[in-house]
Structure formats: C-alpha cells, structure tokens
C-alpha cells in the first residue's frame, strides 16, 4: 500500500507540472487557435534562463525565478510579434507549420548555447532529507515545486476569470468580431496570450529543472507530452488541462510502477500517453472538458 501511495505522490508531482505546461498551451490555443508545437522549447528556455541567473550571475533563486518568468514573457511576446502576427488570417495549416519551424529554430539556438550539450543541475536549495509521512516520502524540492505550481495555477485561473485583461481574452476566444466591436484589440490579446503562456512555461521549466536537472532532451519532451494532456482535457479548457495533467502524471507513474519489468515491457510511461491520445481522438475527440464544436453551413 505504501508503494501505491508513493506512486500517487510522485504522480501528482509530475502531473502538476504537466498541468502548468498544459495551461500555457491551452492559453494560446484558446485565444488564437494556434497549436503551439514549440512549447517545449520555451519551457527549456525558461529553465536555462533560471539556471544562468542563479548559478552564473548569483541571483537568489526566488528572484531568478521571477526574472526568468519576466524574460520569457517578453521572449514569447516578441516571438508572436515577429512570426505569427503577420500570419493572422492565413489558413490554420500554415500557422501550425510556422510553429513547427519555430520549434526547429529554437532548437538550433539552444544547441548553440552550452545547455544543448552539457547537462547542468541546480545546486541544492532545500534540505536534503525528504519529508517522510508513514513511509511515503517526498523531497523538499518536489514539495516546494508542487506548492508553487498549484499557487500559479490558481493565480492564472483567477486572472483569467476576474481581471479585465483575462475577461477580454475570454471574449476574443469566444467571438473575435464581437470583441473587436466592443473595443478589444485582438492582436494585442494574441500577444498577451503568448506572453502569459511563456511565463507559465518558464515557471514550469524552472520547477522541472530543479527537480530533474537540466537535460535539453527531457525538457523539450515536455512540449510533446503536453499534447496528450490537452487532448485528454479538451483543447480549449483550462480546468481540463489541470485535471488531465494530474491524471496523465498518475497514469505515467502507475505504468512505470506496475507495468515495467513484466511481460518484457520497458519504458511504458513514455508511450502510454500517446496510445491514450490516439484512443481519445477516435472515441471522444473533445476530451473531458472541451467544447463540442457544431458546424452549420
């Protein structure tokens, strides 16, 4: 039973990070209908900026965390401004392909920095002894990471529900023409959506970097694992991304805990999300919380 609870705890840790990453992805999709395939690269960039600030420039961790969120805010905003602004109104197929190109470009840029080849890891900021609760243990880094993640998710949800900017973003996602007519600048909302997504991605990157270390391959794999998460939750639902993120984290940990090593299986946690994704696409394509689009001629 302890083993089961241990898996649940680590599933929630991983899942909450998926939730945060999925949140940024959904933000962009919800407001501008763009599938951002380069999300993993932004997550990686956030993690590397945090590392560079804390270790190379000796900025305290909490400050570096916020600084990297600020930097990616502007990074993502300028990405939107340079590459996607001029594609507004183009067919959706070319917009998606621009994000594929963007993924490649960011890949190349990161490989130019030392982070592309060397695996760094953060120094230990928290006590090394894990918190032990009746045999179920969780390290301090993970505990702090999960707490920050849930705080950020709550903050983003509040912002989206209550603040003026958030309300205007929801208005744009609902009906672009109508929101233009009440005086919302749609391109500005697109830029803001990218900026906020960049912020959440940087936060996710910083937390992942602290928990697992800075390997570019693992970090950018987070950008692809986001797809099963958001499809399970429904592409345009923030609450869906959060719930599905945690479900996906649990599924992965259970797969690794119970399936690996039996029947000659190995590394099942890397493939199960995608199998689930294909099954959902076949039988319940709008996910758990997504809106059903009804097309009328």
């Amino acid at each position: 039973m302890t083993y089961f609870f241990q898996l649940v705890v680590s599933g929630i840790v991983v899942g909450s990070i998926y939730a945060l990453a999925g949140l940024g992805f959904v933000l962009i999709y919800k407001s501008s209908r763009v599938l951002n395939i380069a999300h993993g690269q932004i997550i990686a960039a956030g993690a590397f900026i945090t590392y560079a600030l804390t270790v190379w420039l000796k900025v305290p961790l909490y400050l570096a965390f916020f600084l990297s969120m600020g930097l990616t805010f502007f990074l993502a905003m300028s990405v939107e401004r340079v590459f996607l602004r001029r594609l507004i109104g183009e067919p959706i197929i070319s917009v998606i392909m621009v994000t594929i190109g963007l993924m490649s470009i960011l890949d190349g840029l990161i490989y130019l920095t030392p982070f592309g080849t060397v695996n760094y890891s953060f120094p230990e900021f928290f006590p090394k002894t894990p918190v032990d609760f009746h045999g179920v243990s969780i390290s301090w880094t993970q505990l702090v990471g999960v707490t920050i993640t849930f705080l950020l998710i709550a903050l983003f949800s509040w912002f989206f529900k209550r603040s003026t900017v958030g309300i205007s973003m929801r208005a744009v996602s609902d009906d672009q023409l109508a929101s233009m007519s009440v005086g919302i600048s749609v391109p500005r909302v697109f830029g803001l959506a990218w900026a906020l997504a960049g912020m959440s991605a940087a936060a996710a990157g910083g937390i992942i970097g602290n928990i697992t270390g800075l390997n570019f391959e693992t970090l950018h794999a987070f950008g692809i694992i986001v797809f099963p998460v958001v499809i399970l939750g429904g592409l345009d639902s923030i609450i869906g991304a959060v719930v599905a993120g945690i479900i996906m984290g649990l599924i992965q940990q259970f797969a690794a805990g119970y399936l690996d090593g039996h029947w000659g299986l190995n590394g099942t946690k890397d493939v199960l999300p995608y199998v689930i994704l294909l099954i959902i696409l076949l039988f319940k394509p709008h996910g758990l919380f997504g809106t059903h689009e009804i097309e009328r001629v």
Binding site: I105, Y111, N266, Y274, L277, L278
Partner: protein, 364 residues
Amino acid sequence: MSSNRWFATGNFFSSYKAEQRIFFTHLDRTVFAVFLLALFVWPLCVELSNKYMLVLDNILIAMIAIIGLNLVTGFAGLISIGHAAFVGVGAYTLAFVARQLGDSHILITHAWPLMLVLCGLVGALFGAFVGLPALRLKHLYLAIATLSFQMIFQWTINFLPLFNQGQTIPIGRIYWFTGMVSRQNHYIFWYYVILTLVVLMGLAVRNLLRTRFGRSLVAVRDNDRAADAMGMHPGLTKVFAFALAGFFAGVAGALHAYLYRGAGIESFTLHQSITYLAMAIVGGLGTLTGSFWGPAAIRFLDLQVENMVEWSAHFLPATLNLATALKPLTFGLVIVLFLMFEPRGIANWWRICRTYLKLWPYRY
C-alpha cells in the same frame, strides 16, 4: 491545341479533355523524353564518387517520400508530423523480414521488387489506421494523431527486442539478372532503380490527380462541407489520402533500407519528419513538381551547411557543437521564411519565370 503554348495569349481549350492533358504539345512531350533520357544516360559518361552518388540516391528516395507527403499535406490539406515514422514502417517491415528469415534470404535478395510493394502496402495499412480519426475530425486533431504515431513508432523500435532496440538491423546484398550487385556498383544500381520508380510514381500521381479521386482530394481540402454536398465522402477521402501517403512512404523506407543495407532508428525520428515537412514546403505544397524541387533544395542546403561547419572548425573551439545547432536552425528558418514570403514554394518561381518570359517585353 496543337499551336505552341508559349506564344498563345491565353487558354483556348475547347473541351475538358484537352485541359486535362498531361503534355499539351509534341514539343512538351519531346522535351520531357529527352530530359528523362539524359537522366538515365549521364552516369555512363561522368564518373561520380560514391559520396555524391549516395547524396543523389538520397534525394531520389526523399522525392518518393515527399510525393506521398504532398498528397496528404499539399493536396488533401492534412498536416502530417509523422511522415518519417511512415517511412520507418516501410524500412522496418523489410528489417523485420530480414530478422525473421535471415538477412540473405531469397525473398530479400532476389524478390526485392516484391518486397518493395509489400513494404508499401504495410505502410498504407498504417497510414489508413492513423488517418482513421479523419472520419470525424478536422486537420488540427489529425496533426496531433500523426505526431503521436511518430512517438509510438519511436518507442516501439527503441524498446522492443524484436526490432533490435533501435540498433541497425543488417540487410543482405541483392541480386540482379547478372548476379549479385557488388560493392562498387551498389549506388549506381540503386540510382537506376530509384530513378525508374520516381518516374513511374510521378506519372502515376500526375494521372491520379486528374481522376475522380485526385480531384476529390483537392475539393475536400478547399471546402469539405461543399465536397460532402457534391456527393463525396470527406472522411473516407482523407483516410485514403493517408493510406496513399503511407504507401509512398513505405516504398521510400524499403528503398532506404536497401540502399544503406540496414535499418536504424536514427533516420526516422521526429527531426527527420520535420525535415520532410520542410522539403514539402520549400518545394511547394499542392504541386507535383514541388515534390522534386523540395528534396533537391533541402539536401543542397544540407551539404552547404556541412561544408560551412567543416570550414568553421578551423577557427572555432571544438566544444561548440555547430553541426547539431546549424541544421535545425537553417531548416526552421527555411520553413518560416518560405511560409511568410513564398508560401507556394520553389514550384511557383518556375511559374513566375514562365509568365515573365511569355509576356516579355510587355509587362502585365
């Protein structure tokens, strides 16, 4: 329409049949035949080193794969981010047979045309399966389905002992009527085989595009509800498009495995899928000639990048890994720049040139 198309001031087709012809004039047909003849004859006159022959073979294989990708992404309008996985399905079908029966079994060495077809059919099967969500979904979700197929494929190859866990699975030398194809004839032999296949498949697709099915592909891309009202089945058309793309990819994969005499996972990764997409975009989505321009242009760029990396190694520190950095960077830039400034690709340059020459010295 026997008069010269180059001097005509407009289209004077008097029947749909005339408009659908592949060669409009005798001159067109002759030029095409001479060009083909030149492609077949030049290796007899010029001796090319194996390195460049391999590059040429690679370009030709990529052309077959891109014809398939162009059918599904260009003509049917469905993004496929997993095309390298479909190519991999072809290669690994061959590798699977080689692993089960031994790498020099008579099926592989003598009946290789049969194996090419078989690999194509297996690819088509997988393509149709991945395309199944198309029965109810739009392109956005399909892009994700192909991406997840890519990830599942990579996992299957990397983790199952059946496929040697991603290590290269060897494939034996093949036989022609004159006996075993030797080491020095290997690349030139495959050049001829692949070139013949490219010509055959190119003509087949050109023909397909003027049949009912080919035209329904374009109709579904442009407006699937209107196509539905005209009596086509959008979902099934899309599934067929995926199956067809899978077939071309499967043949390309089998050729790749034969050419390298083995199959390994590194040629079928997500990066390779993006390279294929870059080829299709640079060549021109939705044009058949684009499928030939794209691979050639991208491989040429690839060679230039490699040369530049070699040259820069003289004065740059060795710790800077330029080779891994510059390739994704250039591919990404090429994709983005073409999408922003020339969405119709290189194939469009030819069209622009032709109209310019036709109208010269008058401006439109």
